[in-house]
Symmetry: C2
Subunit: 230 residues, 2 copies
């Protein structure tokens, strides 16, 4: 099978020296890639510069992206010619629009006007004591995957922080439905430590609890391989 | 001599999954550290997790920091017992205070009220189309160095983006005076490419143009070693 995996975290530039980054080491994506390679599959890994990467392998292709925009451009053609997408990347929710000193913001009548503005400086000046950064939501790429390729198996990821198992499962089920995913890997940052990575693989009729990155990778391989079409 | 070097870029957390980061590979700091080690000096390197680091060496101690707060706590005691500080780290200018949906911000009478607020969520919700992030200036650590140790030799760094040489020099001279630095290494991001790193070492009576990381490291070593007290 042709397996597409995303890993690492995207970054959205504020200016040429500062970004908003989503934390993600890329370790889980690496483990998943290596597990599928070992099972004989072709793996395309879309990742970021700072993410931990698998060793080179004849069946592995690695592509680097930086922000949501470059992720979309890279992902769309790939989704169309792969059988499975395992989307473990931490994708930025918001991207910077405009940054201003707080006085400038306090003085306007309509703060929505700032959403039309753009910083022209390469490095935004840092003389104000307080600054205000306006951000807009990035497009949710995961909701486009099945439009780009209705036949792809989609495994989405949901990371929350410090919530109950019930809330985590509810958010995962919601994402499963909304994005027509086959499975959602739901995990809580509080349950991820060295040597431990508790997660739940949530499908239409599936709820599997896993305790390590290696278990997660093995179970995804198993579930993906079960699909009859392949 | 006991040489203290900082490298890499700090990050300030927005919540537990997002940060504002300052780009810096740590490559120049690594080069400077290795140059001083080769010349027989003791080197303490304060750096960040993702920065590129020198190989281990019996005269090298490496300490990791994350944000400006942890940098200050680590740096202050070290500044007091080192002879030289080469401060090449890209330190965050601003740190997040509060993040809110734009409607919440548009509806208040006094936006300065947000500077007193704190997000209590572990992961700030992402349902709004637009968000507003309030940031406050971080303390300028470089201005405290000579207060912590009046005898330390201080080499500060100034990175601008796409400015004229005149502007770059003026900013460097200003920083030299304001922070009682011995030298400021002034550089422009536009002049940093693979194999090239144009920079100016600006001192009271010095203006030296350099073209590579290795030249920069060598010249800093030379200037620092000239001081008669040692």
């Amino acid at each position: 099978m042709k397996i597409l995996i995303t890993s690492g975290g995207t970054r959205e530039a504020i200016d040429q020296v500062r970004s908003i980054t989503n934390h993600s080491t890329g370790r889980l994506g690496k483990e998943i890639a290596e597990t599928f390679l070992k099972a004989g599959h072709q793996v395309s890994l879309v990742t970021t510069k700072s993410a931990i990467k698998p060793n080179i392998h004849p069946n592995l292709t690695i592509m680097e992206v930086s922000n949501v925009d470059s992720l979309q451009q890279t992902l769309e053609p790939l989704v169309k010619n792969h059988d499975v997408l395992i989307h473990s990347m931490a994708v930025s929710d918001y991207t910077p629009v405009y940054m201003a000193g707080i006085k400038e913001v306090a003085d306007v009548e309509n703060i929505y006007d700032f959403l039309e503005k753009k910083n022209t400086e390469n490095k935004i000046s840092s003389t104000d004591d307080y600054q205000v950064l306006f951000l807009k939501k990035t497009p949710k790429l995961i909701s486009s995957i099945k439009k780009w390729n209705p036949n792809i198996q989609l495994i989405g990821f949901k990371l929350l922080v410090g919530v109950s198992k019930e809330e985590l499962w509810a958010v995962a089920r919601d994402s499963l439905k909304k994005n027509q995913a086959d499975y959602i890997l739901a995990n809580d940052l509080m349950d991820i430590k060295v040597g431990q990575h508790r997660a739940y693989l949530i499908g239409k009729d599936t709820e599997i609890q896993l305790e390590t990155k290696s278990q997660i990778a093995q179970m995804i391989l198993e579930l993906v391989s079960q699909r009859k079409e392949f």
